[in-house]
Symmetry: C2
Subunit: 299 residues, 2 copies
């Protein structure tokens, strides 16, 4: 657990593991971010692109790995910019065929919205942020690393200081953090974890899936889904809207009722809008939001 946004720890994961080269799987803005991070740190990296809205294809990844040698593969579980949940299990199976290649997973927007078993999938790195499924204020990044990754890190000379994973491990073993942490958020995290233990992770995932289903079936009637429906995420629905549609005007109307939705991310702005259904969001809010958008469309 580190005091920073998720991006800082994604960057650190690359700095702690890559000496030869990284492979970044890209089908949206967050997949691309791993690649930009590698470049900003002078870390050699290739990117393998898939169409936005479509999932990462494990077969293509397999073919690519058969022909090239990589220290790590970076993977975004739920690509928030397009609403796609990428097939983690299948990609992990393909990467696991290459024993020297670590699998780094951005689960920022997927944790607690869908199944994710770090150990069963033999992941090497997985990360989330406090403000998504965990429903806390932003400011903490929470991550897990494998023993394999720590062994790799030992051989990397310039891992950096603040997010040196070996320092984090040493401090974690004595239940400390290497630097002054965001103490207030730690208290919030403790409370949320107790409540999750009570609710059950399975129940929390089902709750998100129900909100997602409600949102998707509505979006298909009124607009259309941006992502391939088979791969639509439980955490966020990305709705494709006609060019004439103004998200700005919709938000002015919604604001009168205390609501607000996100415009499309990056180059999808104006062509899509996004409705989140995870963490702090509850079903009655999704129902109210949907009927407000219906009112807006009828007006």
């Amino acid at each position: 657990m580190a005091t920073c946004s998720a991006s800082a720890v994604m960057e650190a994961a690359l700095r702690n593991t890559v000496s030869h080269k990284a492979l970044c799987l890209v089908n949206g803005a967050f997949g691309r971010r791993w690649f930009q991070m590698a470049r900003a740190n002078g870390i050699p990296a290739d990117s393998l692109h898939f169409e936005p809205g479509k999932p990462i294809d494990p077969e293509v990844v397999g073919h690519h790995l058969a022909k090239n040698r990589y220290d790590v593969v970076t993977f975004v579980h739920v690509e928030t910019s397009t609403g796609v949940q990428n097939p983690l299990e299948a990609v992990a199976a393909v990467v696991r065929l290459h024993p020297d290649t670590l699998l780094l997973v951005d689960a920022v927007s997927s944790l607690l919205t869908t199944e994710l078993d770090f150990d069963a999938l033999k992941l090497d790195f997985c990360l989330t942020a406090s403000q998504k499924g965990l429903a806390l204020p932003p400011g903490l990044a929470i991550f897990a690393v494998s023993e394999r990754l720590l062994e790799r890190a030992r051989r990397i000379r310039h891992r950096g200081y603040y997010l040196d994973f070996l320092r984090f491990r040493d401090y974690a073993l004595v239940r400390e953090t290497p630097n002054t942490p965001a103490v207030n958020l730690l208290y919030a995290l403790e409370t949320r974890l107790s409540s999750l233990r009570r609710i059950g992770i399975g129940a929390e995932i089902r709750r998100c899936a129900e909100m997602a289903e409600l949102c998707r079936s509505w979006a298909k009637k009124r607009f259309s889904l941006f992502p391939d429906e088979k791969y639509a995420a439980n955490s966020v629905t990305v709705v494709r809207c006609p060019p004439s549609f103004s998200v700005e005007k919709l938000n002015l109307f919604l604001a009168e009722h205390g609501f607000r939705i996100s415009d499309g991310y990056g180059d999808l702005k104006g062509r899509t809008f996004r409705i989140s259904h995870m963490g702090a969001v509850v079903k009655s809010e999704i129902s109210s939001l949907i009927s407000l958008i219906d009112q807006f469309l009828a007006s």
Copy 2:
């Protein structure tokens, strides 16, 4: 303003500015940290050491700079581990004789406890953290950079991603942050800044100076000061204690009354203890603490 501990931004300041070599001025644990950070990032650096408890000597710095070329000099204003306030004005004057050398200042524990004029001293980088003089929960690092520094950063190829100062500037110009910030702390910061505007920065500095004076005159009577008294900081008093003295036992006694003090930092543990008098601390707490320690000594 970045969501992280101060250390992350100290490290970033080196990564954004050094291509040839850094000079780290060291008279305690935080001075040494800059040097460790340079090494952890593969950044060439020299360290110039001064005795702990004594201030950094501007004349020695001047001689050293006359014989060597550095991209930056790193400087800790208040060295929290020893309670020394280093002579910023004099060191800045010496560094300013070398137009290609930037001056990076860690003001984590000095801001709002003593005068600090970024513009008048022509500093290039200055940083504090939310939990010291600003009296907020930890989790935000607040920093200023010079135009000169940004020009330098443009020529540095691998500045990193999360704390690339040029990205921060681009976002700051549109009143945004490059990544999701710790929003709750931003509200707290806003409130604290309004209150500081009302109180006045001068009054806040005088308040810390008064608490420091109270603490120092008591410490000289009962124990002795660790730092050279002429350079004793207004933010923290580091008290030298006899080897027979147990800070642990003192803290057990203090805990009964809701108080707790810090043991010495790093290798000064057991030989010193530290009393903070800045930010959220008020004079009546210092008075109560002092009389409790007197009770402990008498028992």
